[in-house]
Symmetry: C2
Subunit: 195 residues, 2 copies
């Protein structure tokens, strides 16, 4: 069962994400997006109301991908430290190995959306922070890690993982797997109970 | 001895940095920058040749501030781990406490400059990465920390520290000092030799 309208919409998101990934949101015009889709500007506006609505849709798509490839794969791991380690590995892989343009756009354009659209995406991001905090808290309660501040631990985790979008190059000296193994080792050693 | 021309130039950088900090580089026009400085657009172009030259000057100013407030203050600390810890504390303070707009612009507009200007700023950033790598290497040689990859340690350090520009709010539950103390504790514990 093909749904040509949905497919067209998806192609538009794909082309727009590629242009915004390359040049940034502000520098990308609706005219350029229309041309990349083989549409007139009027034709493009038939599918999507505003440029900001397009960015919002791209970010939701990126968050969906993140949920599928990271959260859904680790949420059922019972041991909270194992859950966090696997979560770090999968999140690093998503940013480096796949270098998803939608995820990069979420990371880079963190202040571009306004009003209700911004709230929508921020609440999805916050859900991830809460997920991490809860796992750190659980690990502390189980005596698996030191009693650090769960919020601070969550944002340090995110800093290590997400900053990679700014500097990681696939042709550099560190491979994606080497990177995530090393980060996991460094980060989780710092959490171990003091002997 | 006042130097009115230099002072005028500095005021222009200051106004431009404020606008770019608020709205991003692409969304800020030379017209708006001229108005904020009480100049005509022609008057502004008398002081600065292009918008990109303005961004380059702002970034150099931010890097100078970073060198003064972070690197110059720690470079002479003999013990490499003490040097790195103090470096983390000062860098977190620069991003959170002072929330310098020039430094934020350096972090956010990491792909905006082109050609030779981009190379100039990238080489100043790389100098910081090399400084960190050298300190990690020295600490490993002295047996103070585990034999981790110095590059990976440097970028994890930077991730923890610099990601704060995206999420830290002065009115949030974590104070700047609490934040840097907690990050230093978490990060450096992970480097301790295994007992």
């Amino acid at each position: 069962m093909s749904r040509p309208r949905d497919q067209r919409y998806h192609e538009i998101l794909e082309s727009a994400a590629r242009l915004i990934f390359q040049s940034g949101y502000e520098a990308t015009s609706m005219q350029e997006i229309a041309e990349a889709c083989g549409l007139t500007k009027a034709g493009l506006y038939h599918h999507i109301k505003t440029k900001e609505a397009l960015l919002l849709a791209i970010m939701h798509y990126g968050m969906d991908m993140f949920d599928d490839m990271v959260i859904a794969k680790v949420a059922d791991i019972v041991d909270p430290v194992a859950r966090l380690r696997e979560c770090m590995a999968r999140n690093v892989a998503l940013v480096t190995l796949d270098s998803s343009k939608e995820v990069t756009i979420i990371l880079h354009e963190h202040q571009t959306l306004t009003g209700a659209s911004r709230e929508e995406i921020n609440s999805r991001k916050k859900r991830y922070v809460r997920f991490l905090e809860a796992a750190f808290r659980e690990a502390i309660e189980r005596g698996q890690i030191r009693a650090v501040d769960p919020t601070l631990a969550a944002f340090s985790f995110l800093g290590v993982v997400l900053w990679t979008y700014k500097w990681y190059r696939a042709d550099g000296k560190l491979g994606p797997r080497q990177l995530s193994d090393g980060m996991i080792d460094l980060f989780f050693e710092g959490l171990m109970p003091r002997s």
